[in-house]
Amino acid sequence: MTAQLETRIDVDHLVRRTRSVGMNRAQDRRRAVVDPDNRRRPGRLGLRRRIPYAGAVGPLALLAVWVVGSALHWIDLRSLSAPWTVVATAGELISDGRLQENLATSSWRALTGLALGIVLGVVLALISGLSRLGEALLDGPIQLKRAIPSLALLPLLILWLGIGEPMKVTTITLGVFVPIYLHTHNGLRSIDSRYVELAETVGLRRSEFVRHVVLPGALPGFLMGLRFAVTGAWLALVVVEQINSTSGIGYMMELARTYGQTDIIIVGLVLYGTLGYSSDLLVRLVQRKALSWRQTFAD
């Protein structure tokens, strides 16, 4: 009798518990509908939620180390100026106009070289990607060029083009077009052959095929190449501006080296870093906008 009673109580308890679990689920579901953040909850193996301003976290931490290290004299001020000295120097450079002038010159070189390099890289990637003959002719030499550092080409370019602007822009262009070519070509060649079959069944002309299938299909690769290219453009700038130059950020830094002004050198470095990093951020922004159709691991 007692045992029976106990069993019944247990069963009742079980039923009540099951019911409450069921209710919780329903409530959860209701909450999920209301809660807008719950819309894109990551899976167990997906990446966690985005950290806001994730791109700034690392650089800010580095800056903090520099500030604290200088304030506590862990860093010798003769080898590395303190952040506030650098800021003051930057202020002076701006007020006497030297910074803007050099920055304008450098930017013009980098952007011109970048623009020419992008066009060259894309055109070569299209020729080499869409024709077997093009690939046979172009791919080998470009891979060879890839193995030669820009710095090693410089003596030849100076002989051919002198030490003026054409040499500088050409050096940047030659550094930029390689990653654009490589990634665009790769993106183009990895377009699913099933899409090519589809393009044939819907009767696309070659020009339409390039516009609707090849170019959008190669866009992810191109944008990846562009990221390498923009930082590469600023890197190549350093090389050309520190040799026989009379203007630009690199020249400003080279001059500072002869007078042992680390603060000016650091202004230049910070400038290079900021320019390279912000242009990379810009490309990533473009990437996210242009490739909004993709659902990837990183989203």
Partner: protein
């Protein structure tokens, strides 16, 4: 000769004259030493719905690709005449992920000059027909498998093809979605009246949809059955079961009674 042999014998639909959408005589296709299609004869009338059954490796897809003009690097001979306007539906929806739904439907669509609608208008109408009105701005990855396949159907039918070639178009869908797609496809075919060649491995699907079912085995057409059942075809119908048993047997499967 490992080149495209269609050029030698190809004719246009005008040569077909008598409203045939497909006229294939003695079609042979070889891949290396293996004969994939062996002297296949196949005629499909305008507006006729033919289902092509066969086991894996029986040559179904090769036949379909030959009709679609997609069989490159395959050698063979035979006479092959097909309608001028052909649309293909693949097993995967094959939507370009970087084009929105409407852009996929209107891909390569040419608008005739004169008092016509723009290709966008036609695309929108076609999407409405497959029950996807209002989804034209969506990206393909935002759609379910069934919806993606419906977009693929809209893309095919917006071209008003004389011949619709479908290679296991519902093979990747779940059973319930597949049944809905059967209803949709029947309705669309009734409205647009293309000739259809549907490749499938699903015997029930073939009987539900087709006017005629043919079985391909080792590159030869071994069985041909006209399905003359009233409109809502149900598997419970004894006539349905008879056809089914016949087809299964021709596929080498003895039906065991459950």
């Amino acid at each position: 000769m490992a080149t495209d042999v269609r050029g030698l014998v190809e004719g246009s639909a005008r040569d077909l004259g008598d409203r045939l959408a497909v006229d294939v005589v003695g079609l042979t296709r070889r891949y290396q030493d293996r004969v994939i299609l062996d002297q296949v004869d196949l005629q499909i009338a305008g507006g006729e719905f033919v289902a092509l059954l066969g086991r894996s490796g029986s040559g179904k897809t090769t036949l379909l690709k030959a009709l679609a003009g997609l069989d490159y690097d395959v050698s063979g001979e035979g006479q092959l005449r097909v309608a001028d306007s052909i649309s293909v539906v693949f097993q995967d929806s094959r939507l370009l992920p970087w084009r929105r739904v409407l852009g996929n439907v209107t891909l390569g669509l040419r608008t005739q000059a004169g008092p016509g609608q723009s290709s966008e208008d036609r695309g929108l109408l076609s999407l409405a027909e497959v029950g996807l009105a209002g989804r034209e701005r969506a990206w393909p990855t935002q759609l379910s498998g069934g919806e993606q396949q419906r977009v693929a159907l809209a893309r095919s039918l917006v071209r008003e093809p004389q011949l619709l070639l479908a290679d296991e178009p519902f093979g990747a869908l779940d059973a319930l979605t597949r049944m809905k797609m059967h209803v949709l496809l029947r309705r669309l075919c009734a409205a647009h009246k293309p000739a259809v060649l549907l490749v499938t491995h699903d015997v029930d699907e073939a009987i539900v949809l087709a006017d005629r079912v043919i079985v391909l085995d080792q590159g030869k057409i071994t069985t041909e059955v006209s399905v003359d059942l009233p409109a809502p075809r149900r598997a419970a119908d004894p006539a349905f079961a008879d056809i089914r048993q016949h087809l299964l047997r021709s596929l080498g499967i003895e039906e065991t009674h459950a």
